[in-house]
């Protein structure tokens, strides 16, 4: 029974990592940017959701949407302010974008610190769905179920958008070869902005569900960044389903390793798995499908 309980806890934690990893993967596969500022989108998503319920007095459902919107706006703004000037220079700007994203990461993190006074924050009791479902001896919180459902739905939706729509084809085309996509009539700016917004919204949702059941601070996104990055590498950069799978896997491994091995080693085990995957399957577990190929 304890194993099942911790498995559920691991899956719900993995759902948050999955949402983050999906956003991370979309950005990398379409824009070829290793965006280290991605974690801060989650922080701002959580903050806007928190303010939506505490300052505006609106229900949690609206807060979830506000968190997703905040993440999307942050992602689009960062892309246009920091990455677009580098893209416009042409050539391989991978190193430049990494350095720029570090600067944005620090700036947005400090802004969040100032906005919150570095104080711990938490959704007040009663503002987040607080139901408790008991199946046998396994307890599942409503927020855990919502996180899992949201991760599955968002992954499926983004996958369908990228695979089954003209817009998705345009995004994939730009990710594969921007010049060729332009020759084919694709507006790369629209494709990139759409990809940034989708990624930011998914990341904002990760922040909201991460913050919903506990306290959080302006540093919320830092932990998500590391685990989200590991999830993308393990699952595969080229497929949102792989990124989501990686997220769920990491969540389960973290909780079960803390339960049955040692909490001290949970990160060592997670990132050990990352190294093992990099050695054995450098393109990730889902390497057969690559989003970059239009």
């Amino acid at each position: 029974m304890l194993f099942l309980q911790q498995l559920v806890n691991g899956i719900s934690l993995g759902a948050v990592y999955a949402l983050f990893a999906v956003g991370f993967g979309v950005v990398f596969s379409t824009m070829r940017i290793l965006n280290l500022a991605q974690g801060v989108y989650a922080t701002w998503g959580a903050l806007f959701a928190y303010w939506t319920v505490t300052e505006a007095g609106l229900p949690f459902a609206v807060a979830v949407l506000a968190g997703a919107a905040a993440g999307a706006v942050a992602a689009v703004a960062v892309d246009q302010i920091a990455f677009q000037p580098l893209r416009s220079r042409g050539g391989d700007q991978l190193l430049g974008t990494i350095i720029t994203s570090v600067a944005l990461w620090i700036a947005l993190r400090e802004a969040a610190s100032l906005a919150t006074g570095a104080a711990p924050l938490g959704f007040p009791p009663g503002t987040v769905p607080d139901g408790l479902l008991q199946v046998g001896g396994v307890r599942v919180l409503t927020t855990q179920l919502l996180a899992i459902a949201c991760a599955v739905a968002v992954t499926a939706a983004i996958h369908l958008v990228l695979r089954r729509t003209r817009l998705g084809a345009a995004i994939r085309a730009v990710g594969h070869d921007r010049g060729a996509a332009m020759l084919g009539g694709v507006d790369p700016r629209v494709a990139i902005l759409t990809a940034a917004a989708l990624a930011g919204a998914a990341t904002g949702l990760a922040g909201v569900f991460f913050a919903a059941g506990q306290t959080f601070t302006f540093g919320l996104g830092d932990g998500l960044l590391l685990h989200g990055f590991a999830a993308v590498v393990i699952g595969g950069m080229g497929d949102v389903r792989g990124a989501a799978f990686g997220g769920f896997l990491i969540g389960v491994i973290q909780v079960l390793s803390a339960q049955y091995i040692s909490a001290s080693f949970q990160d060592a085990i997670t990132f050990g798995l990352l190294l093992a995957v990099l050695v054995a399957r450098p393109r990730g577990l889902f390497r057969t499908v690559e989003l970059g190929r239009a």
Binding site: L114, G117, A118, A119, P120, P125, T217
Partner: protein
């Protein structure tokens, strides 16, 4: 020749101005009767929420000392504030600046133990007396140059554990700790020592990490042990998250924790889930003596809230430094303040009542009170509602 002479005159004037500026910077330009105390603040950075409260207490004490003429002879304390953000490198830089300013005769610093450990090396090398106001790791004080007015939580935790064992009488207890932080391990040990020999069965300890942010797994581990009481010895954010995680999953046993949840900010983040969770404090206005009551009244008047343990520690740190300055004679220097600070063995009528100093560390065991939050965000003395029942 005339242009050359003019150039030489201008160069000499510039050199004189530069020398005067440097001299001013080195002495800080002390006014008559002014005694400068350095204050490395933490108004930004990872613990800014606590840093503001410590600063409130320190500034209130200095205002009071100056207003009441506590130093005598028309002297008054001026705080030389330097923002250290409670980051070791930044705080050390600020400590160096204070150290080179010879007009600064004492310093107040540090909430986090690693920061205090780094800063005290710089100030001790400069023979600048330092009073640590918030860091709790054992052994940080090092007289004559480093003293500490931080109230140590270990003794308070041990007493709370004994009270819980005697009055709530849980049959069993489980612990959860921030395993990669020596301060929290030390606090865990003090709780375990308090429960030792009381007949309360120890069901073991669940480890968490300082960087950990999800506590669903830890809550599952703790509840699987089925304890009647759980002692939480973790960082503030972890503690609040654990309380939320346990209560939201239906844990109804007794939760016991440290002073870390005593600030209004902690209650704001946790809400009513913190209600009836006992924790120890050294300052509680409801049981304080006359000086403590006056401090609480003045604090409410100035800041609009009740003072918490951090505000009290800040106040006490500044008050002790002021006492050392007063005892250091008419013209206090670093040397005389160092001696006066390390000579203090006892202070009466403080906000904690009578306090003792041993080896540079403040002790105030008689002021320990076990309190809890009420559902509407007030603090009251804790009394068990009955035997803990999981």
């Amino acid at each position: 020749m005339a242009p050359t002479l003019r150039r030489r005159s201008l160069a000499a004037l510039a050199a004189a101005i530069a020398a005067a500026t440097l001299a001013g910077a080195c002495t800080g330009g002390t006014e008559e009767g002014e005694v400068k105390i350095g204050f490395i603040t933490a108004l930004t950075g990872p613990v800014a929420f606590a840093g503001q409260t410590f600063a409130n207490g320190i500034e209130l004490a200095v205002d009071q000392v100056n207003r009441e003429g506590y130093l005598g002879g028309g002297r008054r304390i001026t705080l030389v504030k330097k923002e250290g953000a409670e980051k070791p490198s930044q705080a050390v830089d600020q400590a160096r600046q204070l150290s080179v300013d010879q007009s600064v005769v004492g310093a107040l610093c540090c909430i986090l133990s690693p920061v205090a450990g780094a800063v005290k090396v710089v100030t001790s090398d400069a023979e600048l007396p330092l009073n640590i106001y918030g860091a709790t790791d054992l052994g940080l004080q090092d007289p004559p140059y480093v003293v500490r007015t931080t109230t140590l939580p270990q003794e308070a935790n041990k007493r709370l554990a004994r009270k819980v064992a005697e009055e709530a009488r849980p049959a069993s207890v489980a612990y959860v700790v921030t395993q990669d932080n020596s301060g929290w391990m030390s606090q865990l040990k003090s709780f375990q020592e308090g429960f030792a020999g009381t007949g309360v069965r120890d069901l073991g300890t669940v480890d968490t990490l300082a960087a950990q942010t999800d506590f669903s797994g830890a809550a599952g581990q703790l509840m699987a042990k089925n304890p009647e009481a759980i002692v939480i010895s973790t960082l503030q954010q972890s503690t609040i998250s654990l309380v939320k995680a346990l209560r939201s999953r239906g844990y109804r046993g007794l939760l016991v924790t440290t002073e870390v949840v005593g600030s209004p900010g902690a209650f704001k983040a946790a809400g009513a889930t913190l209600a009836d969770v006992p924790f120890p404090v050294y300052f509680y206005a409801g049981k304080a003596g006359p000086a403590g009551q006056e401090f609480a009244r003045a604090y409410r008047a100035e800041y609009g809230t009740d003072p918490d343990a951090y505000a009290a520690q800040g106040y006490m740190a500044a008050f002790m430094m002021a006492t050392a300055v007063r005892n250091a004679g008419a013209n206090p220097t670093r040397e005389s303040v160092t001696k006066a600070l390390s000579d203090i063995e006892r202070l009466d009528d403080t906000i904690y009542g009578t306090v003792q100093f041993r080896d540079g560390q403040l002790y105030a065991p008689e002021s320990i009170v076990h309190v809890t939050w009420t559902r509407d965000g007030r603090q009251r003395e804790w009394a068990p509602a009955g035997a803990g029942a999981a």
